[in-house]
Symmetry: C2
Subunit: 296 residues, 2 copies
């Protein structure tokens, strides 16, 4: 059996099922970040991600934007757990015919993102790959989170309202390279209106909301007409384009009114798109979303 014969989630379950976690691992594979307890008792977030030439960016793309994206994707995952990014490491796997100037620009973009979010790129590794291979930029990062502010994706509760930040869809028109990870709204949320569950939207709402519901053991009802679409995007695009890097979160219904009135005007728009239902409820059909091994 080949990877292209399997969809992504069963494949990931298959490989992570055999992993054995130490007692100090609070959250292992399956959420936006892992959460480990440090010897001091503090919680640390850990995340790894990558951008691949021909998959996450085009070969002729401005390398500075690619560098921004590579770091920002990990920042977005740390944000969605309620955390603050700290120290990042970068593995580059590049073909020998890669231009040194491309590499320079990549690092300018990475450092720009690091400065914006006050994290350090503390190290890395560089390897060659055979000419003809796709270049790969793999980024791993740590973050801190106060135990009282940690939000998982598996803890959505029946009756919760479902919200998204920003507008969805149209990532390929450029947003997938220039997005702003929602660190600020996420930190404001976990401080003031702690969501019951939260994740970042990376594979499209049609893929990510069912993931959140499945892992929470719940179902959902979504008002498709309420989904906030990017300019010139259809609802289908908003559901399935992916790479939105917006926050998807659920909130206890009694907090909804206050959240909607307190939401800062300089934040991206906030939209209530539905609510969490009991598992016996048939979820709203949301077709689409990005499948890594079969969509190529």
């Amino acid at each position: 059996m080949k990877l292209s014969d399997s969809s992504e989630d069963p494949l990931i379950n298959r490989i992570t099922d055999r992993l054995v976690q130490r007692d100090d691992v609070l959250v292992g594979p399956g959420d936006d970040c892992a959460v480990v307890t440090l010897p001091s008792g503090d919680l640390q977030l850990l995340k790894t991600d990558c951008v691949v030439e021909g998959v996450h960016y085009n070969p002729d793309e401005n390398a500075e934007r690619v560098g921004w994206k590579a770091i920002a994707r990990v920042v977005s995952d740390i944000a969605s757990m309620g955390g603050t990014p700290h120290a990042f490491v970068v593995t580059l796997v590049l073909t020998p015919d890669t231009a040194v100037e491309w590499l320079d620009a990549l690092y300018i973009g990475m450092q720009k993102c690091a400065e914006t979010f006050r994290l350090s790129i503390v190290g890395g590794e560089t390897s060659s790959s055979p000419n003809g291979s796709a270049n790969v930029i793999s980024v791993a990062g740590t973050g801190h989170v106060h135990p009282s502010r940690l939000v998982l994706r598996c803890t959505g509760k029946v009756g919760d309202a479902i919200f998204v930040t920003g507008r969805l869809g149209g990532s390929l028109s450029g947003k997938h390279l220039d997005f702003t990870p929602r660190i600020q709204p996420a930190q404001w949320l976990v401080k003031n209106f702690k969501p019951n569950a939260m994740m970042d939207l990376s594979d499209g709402l049609a893929k990510d909301l069912p993931r959140m519901a499945n892992t929470s053991g719940v179902s959902y009802a979504v008002d498709r007409s309420a989904i906030p679409c990017s300019d010139n995007c259809t609802i289908t695009q908003a559901l399935s384009d992916g790479e939105d890097y917006e926050l998807l979160f659920t909130l206890s219904p009694e907090l909804v009114g206050q959240l909607e009135s307190d939401w800062p005007t300089d934040f991206p728009p906030l939209t209530r798109i539905g609510c969490i239902k009991d598992i016996s409820h048939s979820p709203t059909q949301l077709e689409g979303g990005w499948e890594h091994f079969s969509d190529l």
Copy 2:
């Protein structure tokens, strides 16, 4: 200019020079691991590395051995700083035609290494790459180190004796896949005979000893005939094959006699190969070592 026109070290300096570190970064790029101060004041080691199909393993290689290697390389770097591995994350970049059974075996090997060294693989990311690309397994790991046991590579002192553990060369006969990271000897050393400088041998003694000397601002004299060669290996192979994953360290001369008599018999052999000299001393010629972008 292409990557293949540059040697590895200037290339790495070029990209890391522009990185700006937060004040809590004790050691940034350039050593086996980065060292960051956590909010609690504890020190954390951070390392990222990768194995690439066709570069670090052959496409028909047993995936379990590849998995072991991918984790063990990072453990080796953490060992060489005096640390203990903790939490690891794995990014896989795989072509859609990769066999699921290969992936299963890869994770069996990774988990075996994780259990052996009591670390957790806490998360990961999986991305497709275009068919025809080399598969990439990128591993990032954290470790702990007590401040009194941290050893850097840039602090070798004039007069120090230079030691290596184990036997060098011949990695391609299989050792590069099945090696044992020197966690135990490294931890014994930093506790009992703290080296002035230490690193792991990944690119061959001919490449790594000059790196240690350069960053320490010193030179060295090596007795080539003292270099411990693996069975059926010449000194040239011992100098240049790379992927030994042995410890290279320097020790104050007054500790040498005691170290040599106390070195546990169940550890790999310990060999004194030379001494650290003043920078005005011409270093012993050690030709060879692995160059990532020009040796392909």
